[in-house]
Amino acid sequence: MKKIEIEAGSFRDPAGTIFYHKNKVYRVLNDEGKKRFEFLKKNELLKNLVSKKLVISSNQINPQILEFKEFFNKQILEHDKIDYISYPYEWSFQQLKDAAIHHLDLHLHLLNNNATLIDGSAFNIQFIGHKPIFIDILSIKEYEEGEYWKAHKQFCENFLNPLILKSKKNIDFNNWFRGNLEGITTKDLNSALSFTDKISYNIFVQVVLLNYLENKTIKDNKINISKVNKTKFPKKSYISILKNIKILITNLKVKKDKTIWSDYSKNNTYKIEEENNKKNIVEEFSKKFKFDTLADLGCNDGVYSQICLKNGCKHVVGFDYDLNAISNAFKSSKKNNLNFLPLYFDASNPSPNLGWLQSERKGFLQRAKFSGMLSLAFEHHLAIAKNIPLDQVIEFLTNIAPRGLIEFVPKDDYTIKKMLSLKGDIFKDYTEDNFKNILSRTSKIESEKMVSTSGRKIFEYSKIFSKKP
């Protein structure tokens, strides 16, 4: 019998522990967790939140069905499984903004129902396609008259500050956030903002004043915080702070700047006929296998991901290192209501295992378990631009899914010629024959189709597990 797998990231709130069993997600509750769950069941609050698609569907199950004796006397919940867990440092500005607004909407709804949230972590929001959803139902508790928004600081660091940083200074928050899982501190943001950035009531209050008070409370040991805590905080003020932050976030916009890849599908180097060739190959591949989960590496604005979804694939996760392309892809996922989640991703430096014991937030390789994979006009960015040996590139790609399409771009192609003109040709083994030889070591080449006059070819592979080295 397969054992249970405990989610390493669920230790922060001891009220419950997440575990996985047979591809399903469960949560075992302790006494505090039971109390919070009883509260959620009261007045059908949970049912109401689930029907409004604010929180993930969660049902109490009979522990006997799990066949683990140690769970027989426990209270266990089953949650809907998220197809692909993503983290805030992998989201574009608009994704973090949508997640923040979702968090605030949920909080306002809870306060109207005599409940509140105990934390303000962006990691508690996940995406189902383009739609944000709150996954940690045990963060919901009964509202106590006069209580403060204890998670205000965490909300600012996780949501508000990264959004202000991008909007006001055009600095992407992703690598900064990945470096510090608590988010971006108010102190750092305050230093980055200029005087003119601070001439706004909400930014003055949420950044300048908050930073001043944080410094004051650290330096001044005469301030008695328990006295503050005993002063009742009116619910009206609680709600008005949340509403003001929502207005602030809603009005935050990104200055438009164009990058090479942001309009890639409009301005790429292919001829229309060649592009149609590629589209047909992707369409045929999707129709044939109708994958449950497909990874589109180098997805740009998601043209090929959309073809996959139209032709039978259920869920596509797109990966690209250009945040403007991710932004456009997310926009079209929302506009066309697709089950398509584009994420920021640098294949030569993908998200690593992070946090406590390096297992709180999982790296890309641990999460990347897809049934299908597209890697179109992608491998040369690793093999040529980043000098990664071809065999390692192929191993990396074929480990993502047992079936996929890989486009091989030969040295005669315009893009590679341009890349090599400055670098010089140091890639003697970068040939189509070598590519095929390496791919054949672990996979069967199902087909190879020419897609451009320069010799670009799309290879369909299926992995042969028995021959795995």
């Binding site: 204890k150 205000h152 004043l209 008070l213 004051k216 040991n221 301030i223 008695n224 009116p234 008005s240």
Partner: protein
């Protein structure tokens, strides 16, 4: 001036000479909320009395107008 008002609010509400309590990093956020709550409550009180004052004067003015007409 701004700093002076802030310090006054903090000293007035939250200072306690015997306190050496450990301050968690969220203390600033709690004080911010207390200040915002205080300002909102003050504004609400001011607007309450302001509207009372307005209704009083409007009644007074109406009475005057009526008496002028009569």
């Amino acid at each position: 001036m701004k700093k002076y008002i802030l310090n006054t609010i903090i000293i007035f509400f939250f200072l306690n000479s015997n306190a050496y309590a450990y301050l968690d990093p969220g203390s600033g956020s709690l004080i911010l909320q207390a200040i915002l709550g205080f300002i909102a409550a003050s504004l609400a009180t001011i607007s309450f009395y302001w509207s009372k004052l307005k209704t009083f004067f409007s009644k007074f003015l109406k009475k005057n107008k009526k008496s002028e007409k009569n």
